[in-house]
């Protein structure tokens, strides 16, 4: 086995000597997590909320104070109906709350349409999030003061609806796919392109040793990335890991192997590094990003796209991760996505060995 060890050592040297690529694969996950965590968020902060109070009672005054004291809103007082239209149009507020005259009494009498919420829905996701926040604040106030039977939403697993809770699992899926699939396919294609693959195949190294030897350094790098992403999301964004950490690392390992098998398969179809890179970027990265649920919810996709997303393991891995990180669900709830990842891995490995043999036997 010593000669296998030296082969793995050579792979580490290749990666170590290529400092630029190494820097990219180490820094990329950090940058992506920070970017998605800080910039591409859908939670709200200091949203300007217009309030037109026609009641002017102690009751409505207290409600307005609730909004003013919340970190999510900045209250702008509005006075007449004309203003209501113009501030929405001019973008100076994102939402307007109208409290009709004699509100408290009329609510107790069971009348409806006493408090009205107008939302700027030109950004639908934003509008929906604001609605939830406003309902939360006003709902709890109504309950406290008038004791209505009221729907009280409780946001489980992510009470503040922080989008970073969703983007961390998604990013992990995308980043690992990128690094594992692209790097192995390019690295194997390079051996083919330069002709060193023949030299390796003539040597006493077995084919599986060449393939596994290529994978091991990237598995190591992937774990460095996993640890960095998890650490960043815990310490910078407060994303919890409620489930078992060992299981998280174990199943991430399975996903990494799945991604590596993608890389291996790609390398058996191409002859040059450039084409390997093109296929992994366009044919794998794009669908992984778009169909993993990281950016667009899978449930909103047309049926055929939903089926297509099932081919890419990222979707299943995101599911496994959110069970493990946010919900601490028992294994049986995410056995199915795990099974899919395993199935995809086996199919890819089988196809890759078959193609590898075709070429070299």
């Amino acid at each position: 086995m010593k000669h296998f060890g030296i082969f793995i050592w050579k792979e580490f040297l290749h990666i170590w000597r290529d400092k630029k690529t190494l820097l990219i694969i180490i820094l990329l996950p950090i940058i992506e997590v920070l970017l998605f965590g800080f910039v591409l968020t859908s939670e709200i902060n200091n949203v300007s909320l217009g309030i037109r109070d026609q009641d002017n009672s102690d009751w409505s005054g207290e409600l307005i104070r609730k909004f003013a004291n919340s970190p999510y809103f900045e209250v702008v007082r509005l006075h007449d109906a004309g203003e209501v239209q113009s501030v929405l149009q001019s973008n100076s507020v994102k939402a307007i709350l109208e409290i009709k005259p004699d509100a408290e009494r009329r609510i107790l009498a069971g009348e409806s349409g006493i408090i009205q919420l107008l939302l700027d829905a030109s950004d639908p996701n934003m509008a929906r999030t604001i609605e939830v926040y406003i309902n939360n604040i006003s709902g709890s106030y109504l309950n406290d003061t008038v004791n209505l039977i009221n729907l009280q939403p409780l946001m489980y697993y992510n009470p503040n609806l922080k989008s970073v809770f969703k983007s961390v699992p998604g990013l992990m899926a995308v980043v690992l796919m990128l690094i594992c699939a692209m790097m192995t396919s390019v690295s194997l294609a390079r051996e083919k392109e330069t002709g060193s693959m023949d030299v390796l195949l003539v040597s006493p190294l077995k084919t599986w040793q060449i393939v596994i030897g290529k994978m091991i350094p990237y598995i190591a790098i992937s774990y460095v990335n996993i640890i960095m992403i998890i650490a960043l999301s815990i310490f910078v964004f407060g994303v919890p890991v409620l489930g078992s950490m060992p299981l998280l690392f174990l199943f991430s390992g399975l996903y990494v192997i799945c991604a590596l098998s993608f890389g291996l398969f790609i390398s058996t179809v191409v002859q040059t590094q450039q084409i390997a890179m093109m296929i992994s970027l366009a044919g794998l990265m794009l669908p992984t990003t778009l169909l993993s649920g990281l950016i667009y919810p899978i449930r909103n996709m047309p049926r055929w796209l939903q089926m297509l997303s099932g081919i890419f393991p990222a979707r299943w891995f995101v599911e496994v991760l959110s069970h493990l990180m946010l919900k601490d669900s028992p294994l049986k709830y995410y056995l199915e996505p795990l099974g899919y990842i395993l199935l995809i891995t086996l199919i890819l490995l089988l196809a890759a060995t078959k193609r590898f043999k075709l070429r070299y036997d």
Partner: protein, 243 residues
Amino acid sequence: MAAIIKADGLTKKFGDFTAVDAISFEVMEGEIFGFLGANGAGKTTAMKMLCGLLLPTSGKAEVAGFDVFRQSEKIKLNIGYMSQRFSLFSDLTVWENIEFYAGIYKMQRKEIKTRGAQLIKELELGNQRNRLIGALPLGIRQKLAFSIAIIHEPRLVFLDEPTGGVDPITRRRFWEMIYSATEKGITVFVTTHYMDEAEYCDRVSMMVDGAIKGLDTPARLKEQFGEKTMFDVFLHLARKAGK
């Protein structure tokens, strides 16, 4: 002298195309065997079958006493391989390349140290030991690649156009290295496009359209085809095939 390579009706087909058409020949232990032919004549395919890189379609072949169909793993331990297309890993140093190849041929650490040091001394690369291969001139790289290809002292070494793109002086020195390898008892199987190099071989085979059209010492081949040089012999055979 015993034969180290025995091929009998060795054939390789890719679909309808017959790349190697039932070739039969023997390579004797300790000789320099030149394997010549135009591009696309089937040299590389034949060589790949002998090295265990390609499975033959039919026929029989033995390399170093092992069957190419069933014992390719044993063949691998007894041969060395070097091709012009690839000479060493350019992002690894001289010493790392030596260590790598010696390592994958299962040499012991101690052995690698002494043999590697000796190799570096012979090639006068003492102060280049820790330089990256990519920084060395092609000629030195090729000589180093050859020395590394036989570092594990194989019984037989395959050289696939080893001197391609190298200047005449380096080519000459390269052939001196080949001769000293045969003195150590290593059989050399070499493909080349340089006809002056064909003259250096003990025996030469000429491959045309997947078949061997001539096989003998350079002197007798010239006599057989009534030509003055190996270059003319080559043209004689290759032209005939073109018609």
